[in-house]
């Protein structure tokens, strides 16, 4: 993993999170030694199948893990300070203002009995100095900015009166209200149909042009990552199995799981294949996690060693690494791009 010279804007370092089991059941290890980081101006993607711990990671980054979750190792740092060690009041001061989150499933993310306007006004409580009217006006302006026509009227609507796409836009608008340094979008397009998804991706791409904070996009959809992100962390069964710049990830994936994900991405398929390809097998149990490589049972390259010995982190190239026994550092790769250059250009094709 690339070692940043200065402390990153936000990072999880060796973070392990477990959910306590009910009635003496063993704890479910949702995250194991996860390290990710995001810099200002950067869009970082976190991909993985359902249940691999994406939402848990997102919740940990904003310090809102559910009550039955325990951080067993590692830290979350915002501007170098240990976020999880802060008292609750300190964390609350950061939330919304410095780190904001657009939640998965905008259907239930807003209170059903308060209007969008009321909620977006409340969410700006950090600006207590301004009156409600001023904050409401800001909310209206932000709704207009995320592409909601008729924003003034939408303020008076209840969440269920909006379409899925509008709600998702409203959720993003809410997260942007305080121009936070870190914006976390958990599955921003999952609940939407293809047209809506394209619109939201378009919106996020526009946002990254004039927004200078870090954006962390959580998704199980590799296509979204390709459209939006500079850098990607692939999560599998609670572990980061591969980290790469988005170009490298698509063209030179180092982990068999990443390759399988790319092979299953409907957008990358040519011609009509039915049924859609899937990765055979299922995500492993995490209470407790299997010894050896968690992906081994589904992996076509797995050897006997993969089932017993946990794979090491292998740096395969600049800014790219994979947790795999079979991964090898790339030699002098003629097609390799300079990661710094790609970073600066935004690395979007």
């Amino acid at each position: 993993m690339s070692a940043p010279l200065i402390a990153p804007l936000i990072e999880a370092a060796g973070l392990s999170v477990a959910y306590r089991g009910e009635d003496g059941a063993p704890p479910l290890q949702a995250l194991r030694a996860v390290s990710i980081a995001a810099e200002a101006g950067e869009v970082v993607g976190i991909v993985g199948e359902s249940g691999c711990g994406k939402s848990t990671l997102a919740a940990a980054l904003i310090g809102l893990l559910p009550g039955n979750a325990v951080v067993t190792a590692g830290t979350v740092r915002f501007r170098g300070t240990d976020f999880l060690a802060l008292p609750e009041a300190g964390r609350r001061g950061l939330r919304g203002r410095h780190i904001a989150m657009a939640f998965q499933d905008p259907m239930t993310a807003f209170s059903p009995v308060l209007t969008i306007g009321t909620q977006l006004t409340d969410f700006q409580h950090h600006l207590a100095g301004q009156g409600r009217a001023a904050r409401r006006a800001r909310a209206g302006a932000m709704l207009a900015r995320v592409g909601i026509a008729d924003a003034a009227r939408v303020l008076d609507h209840y969440p269920h009166e909006l379409s899925g796409g509008m709600r998702q836009r409203a959720a993003i608008a809410a997260a942007l209200l305080m121009t936070p340094e870190v914006l976390i979008a958990d599955e921003p397009t999952t609940a939407l149909d293809v047209t809506m998804e394209a619109q939201i991706i378009h919106l996020l791409r526009e946002l990254r042009r004039d927004y200078h904070g870090a954006i962390i996009v959580v998704t199980h959809h590799l296509g979204v990552v390709g459209e939006l992100c500079d850098r990607v962390h692939v999560l599998y069964a609670g572990e980061v199995v591969e980290t790469a710049l988005v170009d490298d990830l698509y063209h030179r994936p180092a982990h068999p799981y990443t390759r399988a994900l790319i092979a299953c991405d409907p957008a990358g398929l040519t011609g009509v294949t039915r049924p859609l390809p899937t990765i055979p097998g299922r995500v492993p149990e995490l209470a407790p996690p299997p010894p050896g490589c968690a992906f081994a049972p589904r992996c076509t390259l797995a050897t006997a060693r993969c089932h017993i010995e946990a794979p090491p982190w292998v740096a395969v190239g600049p800014g790219q690494g994979a947790r795999c026994h079979e991964a090898r550092p790339r030699g002098c790769d003629p097609g390799g791009t300079d990661p710094k250059g790609a970073d600066a250009n935004g690395a979007i094709r």
């Binding site: 809102l64 939330r95 807003f110 409580h125 209840y158």
Partner: protein, 316 residues
């Protein structure tokens, strides 16, 4: 919303109609004919015939039922057999006392219950929460007339702080206020525990909802998360149950009014039953049924106002 309101009111009238039919049927099930029951064992046949004619009991059943409904619709619930005053007048004379008792009891009980329920949620799992849990079960389990008897003995007889009987003189506000304290305490105490448990359960469910996590993710203070975002959702099922429970409040008022010899619907109906004063019994039951339906209907309309989702389902 308007069409929902109209439908709701029509439904209330339908229920009232069925209740009235059932009540009328009851009159025929009572052993002996109403006239002899009203007049008692010493009635002469002439007197009985006279009363039967005056009560319209010599008419065909259909006509009797029609008259009953027509009179009830016009607010004529018949005459008190003993005092010969219109039943409605007798009821309206004491009803405000019961209404005040019920409202004061409901008010303090629900207010305190909601507050305790919220506290239990904020401190969930801590000793305070467990203590509140035990206390509220205790409060629900003790019958209101037992509370009434004990509070009467302690606060009126031993300590002499509050009046033991009556409802205070008309026009004497403080006298009336002092007289309502103990009865309202006795009637309401079960409801404190009940409301607290109800609100706690509803709140705990709501606190796990994702919109609460959203509110927290924006750093909203816990106080606002609980009182605005969670309570606003959790109170909706509580309102429905409290409205239905008003029936329970009114029936415990019957006992408590008797204990405190407090004029009201409770003392009226117990007295009327003892004296076989059927027009008063029937009129009171009918009146209270109508009142109860009114409250439940209003609660439904309030819920529709508070929950925009219900409002829209109704509109659509």
């Amino acid at each position: 919303m308007l069409s929902y309101a109209i439908r709701r009111v029509l439904l209330a009238f339908l229920i009232l109609f069925v209740v009235m039919l059932a009540m009328y049927g009851m009159v025929f099930l009572v052993p002996g004919d109403p006239a002899s029951v009203a007049l008692g064992p010493r009635a002469t046949p002439e007197l009985k015939a006279l009363l039967t004619a005056r009560m319209g009991l010599d008419q065909p059943v259909a006509v009797q039922i029609w008259n009953f409904f027509r009179n009830a619709a016009a607010g004529d619930l018949g005459f008190d057999v003993w005092s010969r005053r219109p039943v409605l007048e007798v009821i309206l004379e004491v009803f405000p006392r019961t209404l005040v008792l019920g409202l004061v009891a409901l008010g303090w009980a629900v207010g305190l219950g909601v507050a305790l329920g919220c506290l239990a949620v904020v401190w969930r799992g801590r000793p305070v929460d467990r203590l509140l849990g035990v206390l509220s079960v205790g409060m629900i389990a003790v019958p209101s007339f037992v509370v009434a008897l004990y509070s009467l003995v302690i606060f009126s007889v031993w300590l002499g702080w509050l009046p033991a009987i009556g409802a205070g003189e008309r026009g004497d506000f403080w006298g009336q206020a002092r007289a309502v304290v103990l009865p309202a305490f006795a009637v309401g105490i079960g409801w404190v525990g009940y409301t607290a448990r109800l609100v706690r359960a509803a709140m705990l469910e709501v606190m796990g909802a994702s919109h609460i996590r959203t509110a927290r993710a924006f750093g909203l203070p816990e106080r606002i998360v609980v009182t605005k975002y969670a309570l606003r959702v959790a109170i909706i099922p509580a309102i429905a149950i409290i409205a239905v429970g008003l029936g329970g409040i009114l029936s415990s008022a019957v006992f408590v009014e008797t204990v405190f010899s407090r004029p009201g619907i409770g003392t009226l109906i117990t007295g009327a039953v003892q004296k076989r004063n059927y027009p008063v019994v029937m009129g009171t039951v009918l009146f209270m049924t109508a009142f109860y339906l009114l409250v439940v209907t209003l609660a439904d309309l309030l819920i529709a106002r508070l929950d925009p989702r219900v409002r829209d389902v109704l509109r659509g």
